[in-house]
């Protein structure tokens, strides 16, 4: 009873003391709160697209859930009683806490496939409900202090303007400069600061004995968020903050890797675990240079083996050979070879390579598959197109053991080409692959092509029989290539001085020297 009478008293006194200045500052707060609210929504939508893929669906779901949760909050606001100002500050602190921690929590959960959506939609709903409480509460606080028609007009004006600010800041400043985790925490801090400020602006409408607790809570939230901001790097490292420059149009996590397709005006790009595999704008350079020097050594190849290359783009080049009878592609990840189905522009780009009756697709560990070669017909050309050796599971596919197994799958003297990472960024790794092929009994010739998305890119052409550098492309390629011609083919084998040979160890299963070279190199460049 005391409480009620006190509230009425303070409200009465507030009504007499609040002048024009304070409501206008409160409208500034409406602006800031609207900015924060939309930023949390955009964060949730972006993270949902990154992790769950299908950005149209995810953004649609997140916006719908968020807006409807705001409706729930607005409905619920009628059940909140005095002291409204104190409740308003608490709601703000809640928004600051959940919104500010949203991206950090979601990042930590990216690897938990089942937990992530639950957490994501949960956070969106909670933040939506709290944000839905904001305006009704504020309107009730200001009711009677400002003319109703002015109140409605100003509140909604600042609310919508705040959204505009968020929609501009988020893509232009926040994501590129701060990254998702820091954006969330920074806006959480802003939100909590606004709440603290409101506790001063509305001090006369808050019972004094509540004031201290409110401010303590505000400082606690601020301190917590500052702490999270300090640890943001670790969180980002733990999760996977891939700030893709372009729109994500497809994403999927598989037991082996994370597939992400982005799109921009130039075309689309495939990333595996955040590493660019190709850009549709210039992949023809990479894949023509990968496949056709080997064909130049063996223009009449009838049975071709492709190891890796689950995007089907190397296979597109392989299939240009009119005398080809059978091509086998071995890729460990079914999701990868299914990507052209899931994302049809890729099927268009690879010329529906996997629909060709000459093509067989095998899903297996290439090493395990090769160790059973004895029972299969041999291949007279092999394309080895694995991701760069940035982990032991990939490094083994570049060892003497692997190349010895590969030799067992080939006819004598069959040409082999190996994609061999960048001779510029990881020069030791590149030459390690050359030396390893030689140690496994291959004659090896290094060559490189310029692929704008990658820079100078390295390959190794190899065979168990000695061979001359190829100078002529097969005649059947005439009119079918955009990048290579005979003079360019010859030029590929010219290695500039800064990419030249280095003293390196041979990569074996028991030393995995290549992975270490590769890691060291990329540490130097990053």
């Amino acid at each position: 009873m005391n409480d009620g009478s006190f509230a009425r008293d303070s409200e009465a006194s507030a009504a007499t003391t609040v002048t024009g200045a304070r409501p206008s500052l409160l409208f500034l707060n409406v602006f800031l709160l609207a900015t924060c609210g939309l930023v949390y929504e955009l964060l949730a939508g972006t993270l949902a697209s990154y992790v769950l893929g299908d950005s149209v669906t995810q953004f649609s779901l997140v916006i719908g859930l968020y807006l409807s949760a705001m409706g729930v909050g607005a409905w619920f606001s009628r059940h909140l009683d005095e002291p409204l100002a104190a409740r308003f500050v608490d709601v703000e602190l809640g928004v600051a806490l959940f919104g500010g921690l949203s991206a950090p929590m979601l990042f930590l959960a990216t690897s938990h496939v089942r937990l992530f959506p639950v957490l994501l939609y949960g956070i969106v709903a909670v933040v939506g409900i709290l944000v839905g409480l904001e305006l009704p509460l504020l309107m009730r606080i200001l009711e009677g202090r400002v003319q109703f028609r002015d109140l409605v007009s100003r509140i909604f004006t600042f609310d919508y303007l705040g959204s505009l600010a968020a929609s501009l800041l988020f893509p232009l400043l926040c994501v590129p400069k701060l990254g998702l985790v820091r954006t969330a925490v920074v806006f959480g801090l802003l939100n909590a600061s606004v709440a603290l400020w409101c506790s001063y602006l509305l001090a006369d409408a808050i019972p004094p004995r509540r004031l201290q607790g409110l401010r303590l809570r505000a400082f606690a939230v601020l301190a917590l968020l500052v702490g999270v901001l300090a640890g943001a790097d670790a969180i980002v490292k733990h999760g996977e903050e891939q700030v893709y420059a372009d729109e994500i149009v497809y994403a999927q996590s598989t037991p082996y890797q994370r597939l992400v397709v982005t799109r921009n005006r130039a075309g689309f790009q495939l990333f595996l675990n955040g590493n660019l595999q190709f850009s549709s704008a210039d992949e023809y350079r990479y894949h023509e240079a990968l496949v056709h020097p080997a064909y130049a050594l063996r223009p009449g190849a009838k049975r071709v083996l492709v190891l890796g290359g689950g995007d089907g783009l190397a296979m597109r080049e392989v299939l240009k050979n009119p005398s080809l009878e059978a091509a086998t592609l071995v890729d460990i990840d079914p999701a990868m070879t299914n990507l052209p189905h899931a994302y049809p522009p890729l099927a268009q780009l690879n010329g529906h390579a996997f629909d060709d009756p000459r093509v067989t697709v095998v899903h297996d560990d290439a090493m395990a598959w090769l160790s059973e070669s004895a029972t299969r017909p041999r291949f007279d050309l092999a394309i080895v197109d694995f991701p760069d050796p940035n982990q032991f599971a990939l490094g083994k596919l570049y060892t003497t053991r692997f190349y010895n197994l590969l030799r067992g799958a080939l006819t004598p003297g069959a040409p082999v080409v190996v994609q061999a990472s960048s001779p510029l960024f990881s020069r030791e790794a590149y030459w390690c692959i050359v030396r390893t092929l030689e140690a496994a009994g291959f004659f090896a010739r290094p060559y490189q092509a310029h692929v704008p998305s990658f820079g100078p890119w390295g390959y190794v052409l190899a065979s168990t029989a000695p061979f001359e550098t190829p100078t002529h492309l097969p005649s059947w390629l005439e009119g079918k290539l955009r990048f290579l011609d005979d003079p360019t083919l010859g030029a590929l084998f010219v290695i500039p001085r800064d990419l030249g040979p280095m003293e390196v160890a041979v990569n074996r299963l028991d030393n995995q020297a290549l992975v270490r070279y590769y890691e060291n190199a990329w540490h130097r460049w990053q």
């Binding site: 032991f392 060892t399 028991d510 995995q512």
Partner: protein, 541 residues
């Protein structure tokens, strides 16, 4: 809960046990079983009176081999090659002894010994054996053995969980001072020196098998002191080096550095070093030394008596034959008649079954044996998702266990499971008390110990466990405390007793595959000679 805490404390020490109970980490029951370790059945036989030996009209065999571990199987293989008629009796249901292996949905896994070191070229019998299984594929230009790449342990080989992080290798490196590293280097050069030493005939003091070693008096004198004393004597003070040496003693011998013979501890390091002191390659198999056990078994011929105990070995008055009384799995008794016997079981068993052997006094005193617990964990491969790449050998610095090896490390095939083999040597108390404690533990209790231990490095491991099988080894391996090697080097234990020839790792004082293989082959060749067959020794002495 206090009994659980006492139990955890007994095996993991107070901090880990208190942590577990304070958090009240309620353990879900884990699938799996306690695999029979023969202890219960074997102990039941210990106190029975000497059984009468029935008459037998059965065929006279050339040799009965008692014990189907590596020594027994090596003897059987060698005897079969010489064309002799052999029967082998093994108490367990499978062959291999402490090198046996098992299999479940996660694939094959070791139950005990799980690797060999690349043999030195002079160890000709081992080289030939490893040629037969495709490990040795030729010679390098310098004359060393060339190994098949896929058989050598893959990188990363070893890692240590130390101060909250995995470090490559087993030396606790983080925070090591310049003095620590200098001592490590001094110790390594000490080992290099011992590995490089040769006697007049070019023999090394430390080599497995020890049958090929030189007998330098100053090296053998190391057997008179503990490794602890040796470290102090040589001025080694680094706690990190001491940890490394202690781990080596626990890992190979089931003893602490305070109890291990300095000779044995230095043997651990020097025998694993090449001619230039460089570490020799390690050869592991997914099923451990079970691979070599299967190969040896397939090389031999003749009757195999599994789940069968030899109850008594008696000699004919005229020395013409030896009778072996066997109780088979059903409890039925059979008499095997043989001209010779190879006894490939520990001496403490031999004394109970061979007529007159117990009376042989101090010459054949039985050495003591250590107790081990091996747990095979089958995890879902979701375990790997949030983990840095697992090495073959994974050790936790703060733990009294020996860590775990990953059987999948050498395989490329895809599998939904990750098998890990966790080893624990009960080093601390006197062996008899430890053994009683060991036999009191149950499956759930040991799962708790193993998981609590691994949670130190893998906090979420419980979420991924599919099953855990546990094997308690009461008498796992001979313990090389000071004096054991000295006694073994005298060779008294190797001398035949009437028609019984001895083959066991305790005759070397270190329980290694190479020693078991050596003694099995040696005993077989003694028998071949004693039976008057032509012999071209394969031992390369």
């Amino acid at each position: 809960m206090s009994s659980r805490r006492d139990f955890l404390q007994a095996f993991l020490g107070a901090p880990l046990a208190l942590g577990a109970c304070a958090r009240g980490s309620k353990s879900r029951p884990v699938h799996g079983e306690l695999v029979d370790s023969l202890e219960s059945r074997g102990h039941g036989l210990r106190d029975e009176a000497v059984l009468p030996m029935p008459e037998s009209e059965g065929d006279l065999l050339d040799v009965v081999v008692v014990g189907g571990g590596v020594a027994g199987l090596s003897a059987r293989a060698r005897l079969s090659k010489a064309g002799l008629r052999v029967a082998l009796v093994e108490a367990d249901g499978v062959l291999g002894g402490t090198a046996k292996c098992g299999e479940n949905q996660g694939g094959m896994h070791p139950w005990g010994a799980h690797y060999v070191t690349a043999p030195l070229a002079e160890s000709t019998a081992m080289v030939r054996l490893l040629e037969e299984v495709g490990v040795v594929v030729g010679r390098t230009p310098s004359g060393d053995v060339a190994l098949a790449e896929e058989c050598v342990v893959r990188a990363p080989e070893e890692r240590l969980f130390h101060l909250g992080h995995w470090e490559e290798g087993l030396y606790p490196r983080a925070g090591a001072s310049a003095d620590d590293l200098a001592e490590l280097e001094r110790f390594r050069s000490h080992v290099r020196e011992l590995a490089a030493r040769r006697d007049g005939s070019g023999r090394r003091p430390f080599i497995a098998p020890l049958g090929l070693a030189s007998s330098d008096a100053d090296v053998l004198a190391l057997d008179g002191i503990t490794m602890d004393t040796w470290l102090a004597r040589e001025g080694y003070r680094s706690a990190r080096l001491r940890w490394l040496v202690d781990y080596a003693c626990r890992d190979d011998f089931g003893l602490r550095v305070e109890a291990t013979s300095a000779w044995a501890a230095l043997f651990y390091f020097a025998a694993r070093s090449g001619p230039g002191g460089e570490p020799r390659a390690v050869i592991p198999w997914p099923e451990g030394n079970g691979r070599l056990v299967a190969h040896l078994a397939q090389k031999g011929a003749g009757e195999l008596w599994l789940r069968s105990f030899v109850r008594r070995i008696a000699f004919a008055e005229d020395g013409s034959e030896t009778r072996v009384l066997v109780a088979d799995g059903a409890g039925d008794r059979h008499v095997l008649r043989a001209r010779r016997v190879v006894l490939a079981v520990p001496r403490f068993i031999g004394q109970r079954i061979v007529d007159g052997l117990a009376g042989q006094g101090s010459l054949v005193e039985a050495p003591s044996y250590g107790s081990w617990v091996v747990a095979n964990l089958t995890l879902s491969n979701t375990f790997l998702k949030d983990e840095p790449p697992i090495a073959w050998d994974n050790v936790i610095h703060a733990s009294p266990s020996l860590g775990y090896v990953s059987a999948r490390h050498q395989l490329d095939a895809r599998s939904p499971y990750v098998p890990l083999t966790h080893y624990y040597a009960l080093c601390d108390a006197d062996p008899k008390a430890v053994r009683e404690k060991l036999l009191a533990i149950d499956h759930a209790g040991w799962c708790d110990v193993v998981l609590r231990d691994l949670e130190g490095a893998h906090p979420r491991i419980r979420d991924h466990v599919e099953r855990i099988d546990v094997l308690r080894w009461g008498h796992a391996m001979v313990r090389p405390i000071p004096g054991v090697r000295t006694a073994a080097a005298r060779g008294d234990g190797q001398r035949p007793f009437r028609s019984v020839h001895f083959a066991h790792t305790e005759l070397s004082a270190v329980a290694l595959f190479e020693e078991a293989f050596w003694h099995g082959t040696r005993a077989a060749e003694e028998v071949i000679e004693a039976l008057g067959r032509p012999l071209v020794s394969e031992l390369g002495r």
